[in-house]
Symmetry: C3
Subunit: 157 residues, 3 copies
Amino acid sequence: MDHSSLRDQIAAFQADYIRCIDNDELEHWPEFFSEDGHYSVTTAANVKDGLPAGLIRATNRAMLQDRVSALRHANVYERHGYRHIVGLPSAKVSEPGRAEAETPFMVARIMHDGQTQLFATGVYRDVFELDGSRLRLQRRVVICDSSRIDTLLAVPL
Amino acid sequence: MDHSSLRDQIAAFQADYIRCIDNDELEHWPEFFSEDGHYSVTTAANVKDGLPAGLIRATNRAMLQDRVSALRHANVYERHGYRHIVGLPSAKVSEPGRAEAETPFMVARIMHDGQTQLFATGVYRDVFELDGSRLRLQRRVVICDSSRIDTLLAVPL
Amino acid sequence: MDHSSLRDQIAAFQADYIRCIDNDELEHWPEFFSEDGHYSVTTAANVKDGLPAGLIRATNRAMLQDRVSALRHANVYERHGYRHIVGLPSAKVSEPGRAEAETPFMVARIMHDGQTQLFATGVYRDVFELDGSRLRLQRRVVICDSSRIDTLLAVPL
């Protein structure tokens, strides 16, 4: 796979990923990860200080499915709306069948009264693997720029 | 047209479309639609409830031209500034010469006093047709995430 | 270079450029410009009124390096975080080895208390030259939508 088509494929992946979340199709969200895919959410300050753990940490797809179930049960009320916008990924092939990328994002939250706020910004630090012709996340670290992310815990990023 | 070049072409279309609006070249805006192109603005809540009509509805290019004329006459005062950012489209070819896409957007509004606000977020749900080598919109449904869109009526989205 | 690959190359350039700034690797920022590259920051109102000068103006790479040094000395306190998102560039080749592009951007600022604000929006109006296989900016005019940009002076855009 040449470099341009790889970046193109990763960009398409990110578009599908955020579309899945923003369309509230959370049940499909774990499919973007490999069976033993890691997903964690942390802050830029934690990363800078070399702190390993984030606020959310899952080490396989089943844990992500559990998380979705929990969200569905917790959110008996209609949830807020979210809208992700991702920028262009910067990507590199680290070894055959494996790629790394960094992709910036912004997320807006739409409150029930219609107010729209800039909710979170940050960067996805990803390791992808090729599963047949499909990319899957072997590892996604969501690094939020702000350290105020308690309210982030509700929605996948 | 292969899938990658289609997505590329739609992305270029979206870039030109928002540039036309943000540069206040509204007179060229109807040219992004086919002669009998549909344009409507609605809300995610309306779509979810199966309500057909939106707040704005035009069913051909001439109606869009009328709309631009009305805006020019209404806005005797200098208008606010707007800045659109679109994400990557997810696209599919539905039949030869025809493509469908969903593209998320964010719009900032810049007030006269210089304040900048997140004004609207949502998704373009589009049907494109190939008019020669040029894409045109056969149908654009602008789905705003927020239901508070009375103020949206001023500017094309 | 065909048109599609040019736009792709410029998009990759923009992704690398904002990543450099948002990762606080400012020392590498001047390398995105040619030796005699121009960089200026101005406002849409100034451009509209035909006012030539902006608020920041540098006419070669050494001036940009000086600027970074000054920023490093001025910011004895930890700086705010910034997050850029750029849209798709609209690009054209103006002559062999030279391309022009317009690329919209949004910048969020993350305050020390964790608050995130929409900080600036605007458009990059760029002239690129090919330096070997690498693009460099011969000229970047950063046109901010808002005229309230005194606080912008702190960070490269």
